[in-house]
């Protein structure tokens, strides 16, 4: 790709002065990671529409916005978690403001076998324990947004569950809050589950209204043998905000990764989930819903990399688009030469609610082994008139019938959320979106 002039990019200017202050700068290996990432950014720039992985969601225009690095949590006056963030029974809250752990708003977590720390603190101490994780699962070289994160990461969470940890539910709430100028923050989260450990991670990404910020979190997840992670992510950023999240998961033998992603708002959002199946018998479910309105742009990108025999991946993504919004789904399934007996399924369905939105999808299969079962499907269209007719013939008015059908279309995926209280919370988010839409239409 041609360099996009990132050399005079505000990221560089604004961050250069802070480079020395970034955590881990005194450790050669951390500094090395940053240097490499910076060099990659300076030569390749941010990916534009000519970079295959970003054809539908170019991010090169970010260079035009004079982002400044987000200040530390203490500088930003966020006294409460926004009211629209649900309180989930049984889950401990961890609050990040602009990517920095805010102890005042977080619950105190004292559970044996579970360690939740700030990356900044870990890097200030002993970096060796996180060395295999940090940069080990998400590589800067092939992922430009990871490079951006690696170059400028300032904080994040390090969550570690010990051997056979029986399970806990953590609710991570990330709040974006800009001042007068647009800010950018690049949280780096590391999650490691030791053999047989179980954990449920709920992530809610919200922003304070009317604020222009970029959040570019990278989460590296390592699952040891028989570990089980459930991760539920909802993104409802402000309309002016940018949210690019990359998750990279490494699965050891018989581990399971069960993920659900909801995209319910943000100016430009990309949720990228990459899973590497490195142990036989490992499996992943990556499901999602999105509901978009206005000029929102949402990109859901997945990459399932089956490297060994007998692994399973399953994906179901459904979304509705309204206004002038744009939805993107890119799902890649790679089956290596050795990965015989892989079972990989994927389905994406998008429903138009108006004239104006755009849907782009690119489901992709790359198969190098013969004894496999792989299938994908993708469909776009509007509500089936026959279904509407059926309901209206039973005395339900058109608007109610539509709302019922759209809700049913999305609920289908929400059903896959195993934890009841989480399912209810996510369902409420979707229902809230539909209600707001109904009110907009009425007005």
């Amino acid at each position: 790709m041609v360099a996009t002039g990132l050399l005079d990019h505000p990221f560089k200017e604004a961050y250069a002065s802070k480079a020395g202050a970034l955590p881990g700068a005194t450790h050669a290996w951390v500094d090395g990671l940053r240097q490499t990432a910076r060099a990659l950014l300076n030569t390749a720039g941010l990916p534009g529409p000519k970079t295959e992985a970003f054809i539908f969601t170019p991010v090169s225009d970010l260079a035009k916005i004079p982002f400044i690095p987000a200040a530390s949590a203490d500088d930003v006056d966020v006294r409460d978690v926004p009211l629209n963030v649900p309180r989930i029974a049984g889950a401990s809250r961890i609050v990040l403001v602009n990517g920095v752990l805010n102890a005042a708003l977080s619950d105190n977590i004292a559970v044996e076998g579970l360690r939740v720390e700030s990356l900044k603190q870990v890097l200030a101490r002993d970096t060796l324990s996180v060395k295999p994780l940090l940069g080990g699962l998400a590589a800067s070289a092939s992922l430009p947004l990871v490079a951006l994160n690696t170059a400028y990461m300032a904080d994040g969470l390090v969550i570690r569950a010990g051997k056979n940890f029986a399970g806990a539910m953590l609710h991570v709430i990330s709040i974006g809050a800009a001042g007068a100028e647009p800010v950018a923050f690049h949280p780096r989260n590391l999650v490691a589950l030791e053999p047989g450990a179980q954990l449920t991670l709920i992530e809610t990404h919200v922003g304070l209204p009317g604020q222009n910020y970029l959040t570019n979190p990278v989460t590296e997840i390592s699952l040891a043998e028989n570990a089980r992670l459930k991760r539920y992510v909802s993104v409802a950023e402000d309309d002016d905000a940018f949210h690019f999240a990359t998750t990279s998961v490494a699965l050891s033998a018989h581990s399971t990764f069960n993920a659900f992603h909801a995209g319910l708002g943000g100016g430009k959002v990309r949720q990228e989930v990459r899973a590497a199946f490195l142990g036989t018998g490992s499996s992943a479910i990556v499901n999602g819903v999105y509901a978009l309105s206005g000029k929102q742009h949402h990109d859901f990108t997945t990459a399932m990399d089956h490297a060994v025999p007998h692994t399973t991946s399953s994906q179901l993504v459904k979304g509705v688009v309204d206004g002038q919004s744009r939805a993107v789904f890119q799902g890649r399934v790679l089956v290596d030469r050795d990965a015989q007996k892989t079972d990989a399924r994927q389905l994406h369905k998008a429903m138009f609610l108006a004239k104006g939105p755009a849907v782009d999808c690119k489901p992709e299969l790359e198969i190098f082994a013969d004894d496999v079962q792989c299938a994908h499907g993708a469909a776009t269209g509007e509500l089936d008139e026959n279904h509407l007719f059926y309901l209206m013939a039973r005395g339900i008015d058109r608007d109610t019938a539509r709302a019922l059908l759209v809700s049913g279309f999305l609920e289908d995926v929400l059903e896959s959320i195993g934890d009841e209280q989480v399912r209810e919370a996510f369902s409420a988010l979707v229902q809230g979106w539909l209600k707001r839409r109904a009110m907009r239409r009425a007005a």
Binding site: E52, R337, Q340, A350, F352, L353, A354, K355, G356, P357, A358, V359, D360, C361, K362, P363, E364, L365, E366, I367, F368, A369, D370, D371, V372, Q373, C374, A375, H376, G377, A378, A379, T380, G381, E382
Partner: protein, 484 residues
């Protein structure tokens, strides 16, 4: 002896014949390399009008600016092509001096019999001079007379440039513009010949038109240009047969095919491609970089592409439909078979512009040996294409654990009333089916051929009958040596 080795042996023999009998070629060949003089030379040789020379030069100058922009996005690996190390013009070679079919290598005859090609075509394709050429000329003229009476124009494009310049000028490059892509631009600059078809208003062309009869000319041209125009309410079925193994090794083949269907017209374009695929180790073979595109300009028009791709070392080919006219229909049926070290990256593009446009894509990819087979397709529904409908089905079959099958579809929908559907599966030949066939006394190769034919049936059925029979046999032959 396996048919594949027969074919290989036949190819070898033809090579020998070619060099044995062709004389004094040098005088009619432009010097190696590509520059403006060569483009002028080709144009002068063809006695072309000034506008066409200008058009070629414009293409050539633009191509020079593309030097580093050779498409690299396909899943294909090949050494960099040296465009200066090739002849861009060679006059038709001397006819091989065989006197009759009796002198043709019996093994070659055997191969053609296996393919089920009629004797006459065998003669033409094996380059038998006197009788066959004499025969074919008479055949051609018989048809030509009949076609002329109906008002059908069917001739080499260089002849059309002389006789029907108004049609050529109006439509040439109107579907695949000069600046379309690297290979199409190159073709625009140096194309040597190809077919031109014009079907007048309201005529249902009573016979299948085919490129068979010019296969000899094809030997010289690596850059063909085909232009087919179906005027209002007409219908034509066109066959492109490359059923004879190509003789040249590692030859670049960059053709352009343009189809134009006006109101209520229908064009059916069928291809059975069996260029020389290279040997078992991937040595030699044709690099097939072809741009094929049809424009459904008129309302209710229809373009249907059917392709059976079994040959070529590299296939880079995306026959597409631009559905401009309201209610127009585009269809794409494809069987792509790769064996040994062949690589294919093929698919289609369906661009829905008009209202109530419909498209259907059925793609069957079969990979065996160490080959790689990719389906790459685009379905784009533009904002005004109300009621557009697309259905896509891509199935891949893997034979052996060293091959690869990829599916890369792009679906872009901008219209809420449009419906798009895409389905893809990848699997191997079912052990049960194989067992069933073997138990009934079939050999493993016969069984695989039968099962694969069943897998492709939906596509093969859309071919004209004579072609379908031939294609079925080809499917079997292409996969020989892939099992057991």
């Amino acid at each position: 002896m396996a048919a594949r080795s027969d074919t290989a042996a036949a190819v070898k023999d033809i090579e020998a014949y070619k060099y044995g009998f062709v004389t004094d070629i040098e005088s009619d060949r432009a010097p190696k390399g590509l520059n403006e003089d060569i483009v002028r030379f080709i144009s002068a040789k063809k006695n072309e009008p000034a506008w066409l020379l200008e058009w070629r030069l414009k293409a050539f100058r633009y191509w020079l600016t593309l030097a580093d922009l050779e498409p690299a996005w396909a899943k294909l690996h090949y050494p960099k092509i040296d465009y200066q190390d090739a002849y861009y013009y060679a006059a038709p070679k001397q006819k091989a001096a065989l006197k009759s079919m009796d002198e043709v290598d019996p093994q070659l005859v055997e191969t053609y019999k296996k393919l089920g090609i009629p004797l006459l075509e065998q003669q033409i394709m094996s380059g038998v001079a006197v009788d066959a050429v004499f025969d074919s000329v008479s055949v051609a003229t018989t048809y030509k007379k009949k076609l002329n009476e109906l008002g059908v124009i069917f001739c080499p494009i260089s002849e059309a440039v002389q006789k029907h310049p108004e049609l050529v000028q109006k439509y040439l490059g109107s579907v695949v513009p000069v600046a379309d892509n690297f290979f199409a631009t190159l073709n625009s600059a140096v194309f040597t010949d190809g077919s031109f078809v014009y079907i007048p208003k309201g005529l249902r062309c009573p016979m299948e038109l085919s490129t068979y009869f010019r296969i000899n000319e094809k030997n010289t041209g690596q850059f063909e240009r085909t232009l087919i125009i179906a005027d209002e309410g007409s219908y034509v079925s066109y066959l492109e047969g490359c059923t004879a193994p190509q003789r040249d090794e590692n030859q670049l083949h960059a053709a352009v095919v343009e189809l134009v269907a006006l109101d209520d017209a229908e064009i059916k374009y069928s291809t059975v491609q069996n260029w020389f695929p290279g040997d078992k180790d991937g040595k030699g073979g044709i690099y097939n970089f072809v741009t094929k595109r049809g424009a459904c300009r008129g309302k209710n028009s229809k373009i249907m592409w059917t392709q059976v791709e079994t040959g070529s070392a590299i296939t880079w080919k995306y026959p597409s439909c631009i559905l401009q006219g309201d209610n127009s229909v585009g269809e794409f049926y494809s069987v792509a078979i790769t064996n040994n070290r062949q690589q294919a990256d093929t698919g289609t593009k369906m661009i829905h512009i008009g209202r109530n446009t419909r498209s259907k894509i059925i793609s069957k990819g079969i990979s065996a040996g160490k080959s790689s087979n990719t389906y790459r397709g685009l379905v784009r529904v533009q904002g005004k294409a109300d009621g557009a409908r697309n259905y896509t089905q891509c199935d891949s079959l893997l034979i052996g654990s060293a091959c690869a099958a990829h599916t890369v579809p792009y679906i872009e929908n901008r219209n809420p009333t449009a419906q798009t559907e895409h389905e893809a599966t990848t699997s191997k030949i079912s052990e049960d089916q194989l067992f069933y066939c073997l138990q009934r006394g079939m050999t493993e190769e016969e069984a695989v051929s039968l099962i694969v034919n069943g897998f492709c049936k939906e596509v093969l059925q859309t071919l004209p009958m004579e072609f379908a029979v031939e294609a079925q046999k080809l499917v079997g032959i292409s996969l020989e040596g892939s099992v057991g």
